[in-house]
Amino acid sequence: MGLCPFNKKGVKKSLLSRLSFDIKKKLDTVFHLFFFIMAFITVVVTFLIVFALILDAIKFFTHEEAGGFPKSLIRFFTETQWTPTFFNKQIGIWPLVCGTFLIAVIAGVISIPLGLLIAAYLSEFASFKTREFIKPWLDFMEAVPTVVYGYFALLVVTPILQKFFSLFGIEMEGMNALSPGIVIGFMILPFTASMVEDAFRGVPAYLREASYALGADKVTTFFKVVLPAARSGVLAAYLLGISRALGETMVVAVAAGMYPNLTFNPLEPVQTITGYIVQVALGDLPFNSFEYLSIFAAGMFLFILNLFFNLLAVHFKSKVKGY
């Protein structure tokens, strides 16, 4: 097989190659500039995101309905209800934050242990063939649209949970935090598992071999050698997984309810920051109205939360030892 997959004649006869060397050199600068501009646009996108969020969040906090600048910020962090769309406007962010974290924690409870075990299995125990069989299916899971996961949470998982809890005489509402939390846990599982697996694979073979040489079996080696050696990478993977769960939108918009609720009870309906943004965006909002601005304030808070977790993940990743 030749290395060159296209015909050489086409290249020789192309018009461009007959250009004089001078023009060719100038074209070099042009293309360099073009590639650089396209790469730089990605930075511009980040700036535009921050700009969009900050600009409208400032308008929100200086809006008279929020009570003017310093007061609005105090209300934002001290009030216990989030009702910018009601007549009586309260703008305490905590109910939304609470719902967001409640669901992220449930998702974490599912995906952290399962992700660890699956990753350990795939990297340490599974044969090459089983691994090659399982990996593509995990990839497929990542491609399932989130709204489909939402459908599944609302119409399949919730009824099952309701039946299960009614066995114990516990009433569970049709909208609740538990069902989307569980579904999101499974949804981010392929992502966490593959990141954790990468961390395990980064541990060099000689560490394992040294452990085997001392008479340890594979399980002991995994828990005593591989896991401690990979802990920064594992932690980074979990932080990225949680940050995904925080920003997940459609599953919670479908199955968690539309009621900002300051509760830690997973059987009650809750609203997340993302769920609130969807709820408000579904109604047609006039530009610059208080409700319109409130989704940018909420979105800004989510962006900061997310950035915090991502930067923490980057920090732990940078601590991964290169053996």
């Binding site: 461009l16 969020l53 649209p145 599944f152 598992a193």
Partner: protein
Amino acid sequence: MREKTFSALGLILSLISILFLFSITISLLIHGWSRLISPSFYASFPSRFPEQAGILSAWVGTVYVMLGAIFWSVLIGVPAGIYLEEYADRSSKIARIIEANISNLAAVPSIIYGLLALGIFVYRFNLGESILTAGLTLGLLMVPVIVVTTRESIRRIPRSIREAAYALGATKWETLFHHIIPYSLGGILTGVIISISRAIGETAPLITIGALTYIAFLPPAPWQDFIGMLKSPFTVLPIQMFNWVSRPQAEFHTNAAAAGFVLLVFALAFNALAFYLRYKLRKKYAW
């Protein structure tokens, strides 16, 4: 013995997560079956009557929006990847900023892109709640994946190819267009297809820019009125499905299941295509 137990546990858990995927697919198929087999489902507009409602405007909208998204993401993502791999000086500050920025963009929740689109594209650039805005938004969402795969496939090309080209007097862009890009095209294509499979089900950013859920007309055909098509309001499959799921009547849930199945088939088909391409490429280029 312990090893076997642990291994079996790992295998069972992996299979459970795969089972999760199967149960989603099967529940969509069972619930949506009565609509999936009716041809009118694919050829009619949404309606107040669940048994008459269809996904015509939704899948047409999805096709237009995705074409736009592919255009923008390839236009930005591929050159950005080429820049970082072929031009950028690793130690330069700007290259490191761009690199860190792209990995950060990949982790930004999609709904934040929706707020970007709403605040900037819709109201400040005055692009409106249109197919153009939707394509641009999803395109930006796809960029990080495309940059990463472009870089990976370029990195696999050995240095000797470049040096051979330079030795024959080729300029940098000639080397790029005659060698680097053609050889990495397969890998880039795989990346584009994977990002399509992710973006096709993206709902949140399109809800925030105001995709309508009830559209009883098709956008003008691009070969007749290109600008009109770009400016046309739209709906897409995932939004149509979301609309049906959030209604209380169970009949609409049947429609939602059917729409979800169609969506799932598209997403998984693209994913499988990428998987197949990657497998083929691994065989083709063994340097």
